[in-house]
């Protein structure tokens, strides 16, 4: 048995003290003089009245003394929080890994919080793997079970390495994970639960069955954190661009701050914001395309502690494209009209180069449909939408794949557009796509398909590690924490029943007149 509450010494002192007080009270109230009388009949009325008037007189009876001593002993035993423990038989464990947005914050040691959490979880899993199965649960918007108790250790460790930071900021996922752990504890009361997180978990939010047995490992001080995510640029119209600024907040009280949009060092716009804990807000600004190179956003808090977030300037305002001289006019026109793209004269300066496959003689009597490959569009529904009324001209000029990704193809599998990665990337197009009788360049989906072919990178919203910082203190020495989840069966409930039984027994004895 393990005692999670008072130590043995303190408990013994409490019991001795309580029994001493009870014994002294009993001795003080004991009747030393015993007298034999012919009958108690005539004393009953006075006895009844005294019993009602002097509850303290109950201290006299030895039964009372004994029952109170038992009660005191049980109460002290309850304070010691005994629990049955042991390693006989399998002792399963649940590891809950928090992978929400804040875990992507950078740490002083390099890497992010998730790396640190992953390391701790790995240590724990290796330590307890011999005792029983490991259930690995990650927390994002929802709780996901990555490995179950009957999976191998290798599987658990592998899944652990695959965990990535998610943009989730809500508590729903954590609650689901805790409820899942509580269910597993109900199935096997010896299950140990460890949560590795950077959020504070309040006791009242925990399922009751988990409260005495869960180990929470906080890898960061759970204080207010107002953060600015990288800017997202969306081309709007010619010469104008939408810039989306995301603000996230983790904390206890509502956060307030000022979001400023700067071009260079000049503040173009300042916007006061107010944000609730666990929320993200998007603020859209419209700026001139020419200002994108010098654009940055800044967020600072109104609270006394300094929070000064500054998003990095957008690294690339327009995607640089090189078109050959024989590039189809439709392609050239599409790219020049797009404010997100900039035509360059040399391929070395470009992010992506277009090329046309050499024309070859060939003719088809029937127009060939253009197929969009999963490499260009993974979404099958989007793919089907794009392939609507998409046809080649009568002349088919295939493109040699040459180890590139086939983006467009015919129904028979002949490549029509191939992208080869490199610096710059190279996209080879079939002239058949731009034939006068082809419908490819005339459809509304032409521009999105060209966009997708070029795969112009957006600034990722999940790249928190490189751009965010806050006033959070450095991560605690988590390695010093003893990973020892409570794999035990508490005896609280049984002690409570015992106390109630003793009290009930005393009431029965009292009502039957066995004790005064």
């Amino acid at each position: 048995m393990t005692l999670y509450g008072l130590s043995l010494v303190v408990a013994a002192a409490l019991v001795v003290g309580a029994w001493g007080i009870l014994t002294a009270s009993h001795l003080l109230h004991r009747r030393y003089r015993r007298v034999t009388v012919p009958t108690l009949r005539f004393w009953q009325a006075a006895l009844k009245k005294q019993r009602q008037d002097t509850l303290g007189g109950r201290w006299r009876h030895p039964w009372i003394w004994l029952l109170l001593c038992i009660l005191a002993g049980l109460l002290v035993l309850g304070m010691m929080q005994p629990a049955l423990t042991g390693t006989r038989g399998a002792v399963p464990h649940v590891v809950i890994l928090d992978a929400r947005a804040s875990m992507g914050l950078a740490t002083d040691e390099g890497g992010d919080r998730l790396d640190q959490a992953r390391s701790l979880a790995r240590q724990y899993i290796r330590r307890v793997a011999d005792l029983g199965g490991i259930t690995l649960v990650t927390v994002s918007d929802t709780a996901a079970v990555l490995s179950r108790a009957d999976d191998s250790l290798t599987e658990a460790l592998y899944q652990l390495e695959q965990v990535e930071v998610s943009p989730a900021t809500t508590v729903q996922g954590m609650q689901q994970a805790l409820n899942l752990a509580a269910t597993l504890v109900q199935v096997d009361p010896r299950t140990g639960v460890v949560v590795v997180t950077d959020h504070e978990l309040a006791a009242e939010t925990l399922p009751v069955s988990l409260r005495p047995r869960m180990q929470v490992l906080n890898i960061a001080d759970p204080i207010n954190n107002l953060a600015l995510l990288p800017l997202e640029v969306t081309p709007f119209t010619e010469g104008r661009t939408h810039v989306d600024v995301w603000v996230a907040y983790w904390g206890r009280e509502p956060g307030h701050g000022t979001l400023s949009l700067l071009v260079g060092e000049e503040t173009r716009e300042a916007l006061p914001i107010s944000i609730q804990p666990g929320h993200m807000q998007r603020h859209r600004f419209t700026v001139a395309a020419a200002d994108l190179d010098r654009l940055s956003a800044r967020l600072y808090d109104e609270e006394p502690f300094a929070v000064d977030n500054r998003a990095e300037r957008v690294s690339r305002s327009r995607y640089r494209v090189f078109l050959p001289d024989n590039a189809p006019m439709a392609l050239r026109a599409a790219l020049s009209a797009h404010p997100g793209y900039q035509a360059v004269g040399q391929s070395e300066q470009a992010d992506v180069c277009f090329g046309m496959a050499p024309a070859s003689a060939g003719s088809r009597e029937h127009p060939e449909a253009v197929h969009v490959t999963p490499a260009l569009c993974p979404d099958p529904r989007q793919r089907r939408a794009w392939m609507t009324d998409l046809f080649l001209g009568p002349t088919l000029v295939p493109v040699e794949p040459n180890e590139g990704s086939v983006l467009l193809a015919t129904g028979s599998g002949q490549a029509l557009a191939v992208r080869r990665e490199g610096t710059p990337s190279f996209i080879t197009l079939s002239p058949s796509l731009f034939d006068s009788q082809a419908t490819f360049w005339k459809q509304v989906q032409f521009l999105p398909i060209v966009d997708a072919m070029m795969q112009a990178p957006r600034v990722p919203s999940s790249a928190l590690a490189t751009v965010l910082y806050s006033n959070l203190t450095s991560d605690q020495e988590a390695a010093a924490a003893e990973l020892n989840a409570g794999t035990s069966v508490s005896l609280y409930r049984w002690l409570l029943w015992l106390i109630l039984i003793v009290l009930g027994g005393e009431m029965v004895l009292y009502t039957r007149g066995k004790i005064v």
């Binding site: 007298v35 009958t39 108690l40 005539f42 006895l47 002097t54």
Partner: protein, 288 residues
């Protein structure tokens, strides 16, 4: 010896009168309600068909020209069950009370035997057999028997009364020397005393400690005849409550006894035997 010579002499002069006059045809020492074959002339009675013609008083006939018969006093024998309670409740107050009860019982037995009453000694408390005594010559063994009665045990007065109803006749009398504490309530006395009807005497020997217990302070009271105990603080108010309950109980017992034509007499053990017998036998007649 339980009784002194002077007490023997004094007690021997007392007469015994049963509360109820017996009626049977057996010649004995007590005048029966029936007129019959005795020696003493009692009264004249008009001749009724069936009367013995030999008893017709012809002299009276010559004078009054009426046929009358002579009636004589008839004497019957009386048996008294003398129940003596020397149980633990009677003896817990000390040997003085036990001695006083024994002396009182001896005095009663002496009177009864001297007056020709057949006596059946019924000890209550210990399991003892009933011992019969009759005739004046048996007074000494009777007193010795009373002196040797065991003390202690649990009283079963009610059971003895029930035995009296089973064993005795309708002419037998019952005298009980007890504290009458072995029933739950006086309603039970009503049931047991009802058949007695002028044939019972309830003599309650009591001492000062019974009426006003010399107790004070925190005590654990143990009942003499059971394992029950109770702890309480005895003070003036408690003693008053005790006295009230004590008086109420015996008052009720007295009412029940009177209702059935029996006598309830409370005697103080501290009083001398002479005084006690004066109460029991006013004007020298002991009513049983």
């Amino acid at each position: 010896m339980l009784l002194s010579e002077h007490e023997l002499h004094t007690l021997g002069a007392l007469r015994v009168q049963p509360l109820s006059r017996p009626r049977r045809q057996t010649p004995a020492d007590f005048s029966s309600l029936d007129k019959g074959l005795g020696l003493e002339f009692a009264d004249y009675q008009l001749f009724q068909p069936g009367d013995d013609i030999r008893h017709v008083d012809w002299t009276h006939y010559h004078k009054d020209r009426r046929l009358v018969v002579r009636k004589y006093d008839q004497h019957e024998s009386v048996r008294v069950f003398l129940m003596i309670d020397l149980s633990a409740s009677m003896s817990c107050q000390g040997p003085e009370k036990v001695r006083a009860v024994q002396r009182l019982a001896a005095a009663l037995a002496l009177c009864l035997l001297r007056n020709g009453v057949k006596l059946l000694l019924c000890p209550v408390g210990q399991s003892q057999q009933r011992v019969p005594f009759s005739g004046w010559s048996r007074w000494q063994p009777c007193l010795e028997s009373i002196e040797q009665l065991p003390v202690g045990g649990n009283a079963h007065v009610m059971e003895e009364v029930q035995q009296f109803h089973y064993l005795g006749t309708r002419t037998d009398h019952l005298v009980i020397l007890s504290d009458f504490l072995d029933v739950e309530d006086t309603a039970a006395w009503d049931r047991y005393l009802a058949p007695l009807t002028e044939r019972g005497s309830l003599i309650h020997p009591t001492c000062q400690a019974d009426i006003e217990p010399p107790l004070e302070g925190g005590l654990t009271l143990e009942e003499a005849e059971s394992t029950q105990a109770a702890s309480l603080t005895v003070d003036r108010q408690v003693l008053l409550a005790y006295r009230d309950a004590y008086d109420a109980y015996y008052q009720q017992l007295n009412q029940v006894a009177q209702h059935h034509g029996c006598r309830y007499i409370r005697l103080r053990c501290e009083d001398p035997l002479e005084r006690q017998m004066e109460i029991l036998a006013p004007e020298g007649v002991l009513f049983v």
